[in-house]
């Protein structure tokens, strides 16, 4: 059962990482325009290089 000592911190860290990603997406206003973002992914405009 000593593997728990490793697995629990790992699972908690992964959960924490998910939470941080969520907070980051919130800070970047990614929930402002769900409909627009769903359409934007279809354009080819920034396929070659990222938007400056």
């Amino acid at each position: 059962m000593s593997i728990l000592g490793l697995l629990i911190p790992v699972s908690l860290a992964m959960g924490g990482l998910g939470l941080l990603a969520f907070l980051w997406s919130l800070r970047n206003r990614q929930y402002e325009d769900p409909k627009g973002d769903a359409e934007r992914i279809l354009t080819k405009e920034w396929d070659e290089r990222p938007r400056p």
Partner: protein, 731 residues
């Protein structure tokens, strides 16, 4: 919900999400920069529209950033030194309609902060729930002794801060309702959260078998989903309603010693001289000093025919000047104007409607005392039977958690969100959360005529009354005027393929008509007395045409029906509801429309306060009345009705007084909305029944002391999911 901001913002993290939330929310809300121009784009709908609009704007060298928000159909432009007037042609050049929005009227930052705050708390609760559940699965599947205690401790370390942070909206609202001496839905929620957390900590410390950390956190999560859905449906409606207001930038032209000056309508004082151009709305009550014109009063009185205005005529704010420029001396502005006096009527009527209790309120009123009583009874019963206080408290906490209104909290918001989404796609904007429920009770529908059932634009009744030879003359005369009857005549003749004749010395005499010379003969189109005809006792709006010495010709016009009006009335009557037509217009015009639509119950020449009175009288025998109207004369009636709808073309005051705004031209969605509202109410009741059924099964188990954290978590999740799925059937 506000405008997208355009300035880069590097993410940074702190160890404590709670410390992050509040300052972050304030920070984000303050970011809608003052320099940004916001334009409304009613016609964008796809990925290439976004690229077109952004590309057209970015091509301008002074534009630093342009970003389209497709959800709100807006574009925010960061262009220092450029104004909306300079940017609109760029967008229109790309083929999209663009309208200026008044950023101060949008002012959604406070509500926006609330939404972001709820979303943040929901996210935190969601992630905490996942982690606690992972640990709980181990406990449920048989971890014991030291392992179980350790898992409980870790769960507690995650759950307690989460509950403190994510549960804050419930604690605050519970405290507020307790201080007001009420038992709202949030009191049992807050009590369950606190009691269950405390019991779980105590059990963990004494190596107990059951800890409810998972239940507490998932309770927070599910309830926050309900809160967020509820917030979203209100915010979408509010931002769209604010957008309608922001489209009207109120300005007046004041005449000073050194010329005209554009001022805000709010700054006008009695005694000011203002100039009102043809085609614009009169900004304040006043007396005509100079000029002659025709005035469209349909929004104020419901009259479909324009009236003449000459010096010394009295005009009211909200009327539209049609043909000639007018110089007006203001007699009353702002608070004293007839517009504001009407809005006082509206407020009085609205207070009466504020007493409506929603289904959710009625359910929670029944529910809260029962839950507390059950928990208390189980505590007393078990303490009396076993004498074990720890066991008794444990069971009481289990009862509180099991009965907690997870599904109940989702039952209404989930249905309202799907129903208003469905109606929004059909062009109806729900401004008030309880409007759908109230609409489901409607038995009588009252319509206004001008601007609601009709478009407010006239149509030539019979083109055959004009001899072939005179049609080119009539068309040429009609094209020279902006009067609605002339425009209708011109359209009818053009549709019949007439080419305009060549006229000389054409002049428009405001308030009278148009005259010109044709092949040496004088030709006139206009009012009966001016043309030299006997007006007679015609029922319909009419105009007269005289060519040379010939006998004047009478041209009759009828009001054009709004598309879908016939279907709408027929569908409402087919569903067994009563349709009534109330109008301020003359009885001949009203009878004509009533006959064309098949409405048996109609009244004409009804004054505004009488309208409100009739609506109230219709409602006295217990049947709910829905009012559909657009004019200022309808505002009091709109507010007095059980539920009300105004078209987007209505005056601001009428839109404010109504619960639902009809965005398109077509009236048919109104009948559809009644049907959707009825279905939505059925779904809400089904949802209450579902959550009640879960409680019927689960409460005896909890009372008997067989409830485990696993059972609580299962009951909570399954009931929440069933309720949501049932709501989605409305789509």
């Amino acid at each position: 919900m506000t405008d997208v901001s355009l300035h880069p913002n590097g993410p940074s993290f702190s160890a404590c999400p709670a410390c992050d939330a509040a300052p972050l929310a304030t920070h984000l809300a303050a970011r809608a920069d003052d320099g940004d121009v916001v334009l409304s784009l009613p016609s964008v709908h796809c990925a290439s529209c976004i690229a077109d609009v952004e590309g057209a704007l970015m091509a301008h060298p002074q534009v630093r950033q342009a970003r389209v928000n497709l959800t709100l159909r807006r574009v925010t432009v960061d262009a220092p030194g450029l104004t909306a007037e300079e940017l609109i042609p760029l967008v229109e050049g790309a083929g999209y309609e663009a309208l200026e929005l008044d950023p101060s009227a949008l002012g959604t930052s406070a509500a926006d902060r609330q939404g972001r705050d709820l979303l943040m708390r929901m996210g935190v609760a969601g992630f905490a729930m996942m982690n606690v559940m992972i640990l709980s699965v181990a406990v449920w599947s048989g971890a014991d002794a030291a392992t179980r205690d350790m898992f409980h401790w870790i769960s507690g370390a995650i759950a307690l801060p989460t509950v403190a942070f994510a549960g804050k909206p419930f604690f605050v609202s519970a405290w507020r309702s307790l201080r007001a001496g009420r038992l709202g839905m949030d009191v049992p929620i807050a009590l369950a959260l606190i009691l269950a957390s405390a019991i779980s900590v105590f059990e963990t410390m004494s190596s107990g078998q059951h800890a409810y950390f998972d239940g507490v956190v998932s309770l927070c999560f599910f309830l926050l989903i309900g809160r967020y859905l509820d917030y979203r449906s209100r915010a979408v409606a509010r931002s769209a309603a604010a957008e309608l207001t922001a489209l009207e930038v109120p300005r007046a032209f004041r005449v000073n010693a050194d010329g005209d000056e554009a001022v805000a309508v709010a700054d006008l004082l009695p005694g000011d001289l203002i100039r009102v151009r043809p085609g614009s709305r009169i900004p304040a009550d006043g007396e005509v000093v100079e000029g002659q014109s025709d005035i469209d009063r349909s929004l104020l009185t419901g009259e479909s025919l324009p009236v003449a205005a000459a010096p010394h005529s009295l005009l009211s704010a909200g009327e539209v000047n049609l043909t000639g420029p007018l110089l007006i001396r203001v007699t009353a502005a702002g608070r004293d104007s007839s517009l504001s006096r009407l809005s006082a009527l509206v407020e009085a009527a609205e207070n009466a409607r504020g007493r409506y209790t929603s289904l959710a309120e009625r359910a929670s009123r029944l529910y809260a005392p029962v839950v507390h009583l059950l928990a208390l009874v189980s505590f007393i019963g078990w303490f009396w039977a076993t004498g074990d206080a720890r066991l008794a408290i444990n069971i009481a906490a289990a009862v509180l958690i099991i009965t907690c209104p997870c599904a109940l909290g989702l039952a209404v918001p989930a249905v309202v969100t799907t129903a208003s989404g469905r109606l929004f796609r059909r062009g109806l904007l729900i401004k008030d959360g309880t409007a759908l429920e109230r609409m489901a009770e409607v038995q009588t529908v009252v319509f206004d005529k001008t601007g609601t059932l009709t478009m407010g634009t006239p149509r030539l009744q019979r083109i055959e009354t004009i001899p072939e030879a005179h049609r080119p003359v009539a068309l040429a005369l009609a094209q020279g005027s902006a009067h609605p009857l002339s425009m209708a005549l011109a359209k009818a003749l053009q549709d019949a393929g007439t080419q305009p004749a060549r006229l000389e010395q054409q002049v428009e005499v405001p308030g009278a008509g148009v005259m010109a010379l044709w092949q040496g003969q004088e030709v006139r189109l206009g009012r009966a007395d001016w043309v030299g005809a006997n007006a007679g006792t015609g029922a319909l709006s009419s105009s007269w045409l005289r060519v040379g010495p010939a006998e004047p010709l009478r041209l009759e016009f009828v009001d054009q029906l709004r598309p879908g009006a016939r279907d709408c009335v027929a569908m409402i009557e087919a569903s067994g509801r009563k349709v009534v037509l109330l109008s301020g217009d003359t009885s001949a015009a009203v009878r004509d429309i009533a006959e064309r639509l098949g409405i048996k119950d109609w009244q004409a020449e009804v004054a505004p306060d009488r309208k409100a009175q009739i609506v109230q009288e219709l409602g006295t025998d217990g049947t709910a009345v829905m009012m559909v109207g657009d004019g200022l004369n309808d505002t009091a009636a709109l507010a007095a009705a059980h539920v009300s709808i105004a078209p987007a073309t209505a005056l601001d005051a009428a839109r404010v007084a109504s619960d639902i705004v009809l965005l398109g031209h077509d009236l048919a969605p109104v009948a559809d909305a009644l049907e959707t509202a009825r279905k939505a109410r059925t779904r809400i009741k089904e949802n209450f029944a579902i959550s009640f059924a879960y409680n019927i099964v689960a409460v005896p188990i909890a009372l008997a002391g067989f409830a485990t954290p696993l059972l609580a978590a299962l009951a909570m999740s399954i009931s929440s999911i069933t309720v949501t799925l049932n709501a989605l059937r409305l789509r």
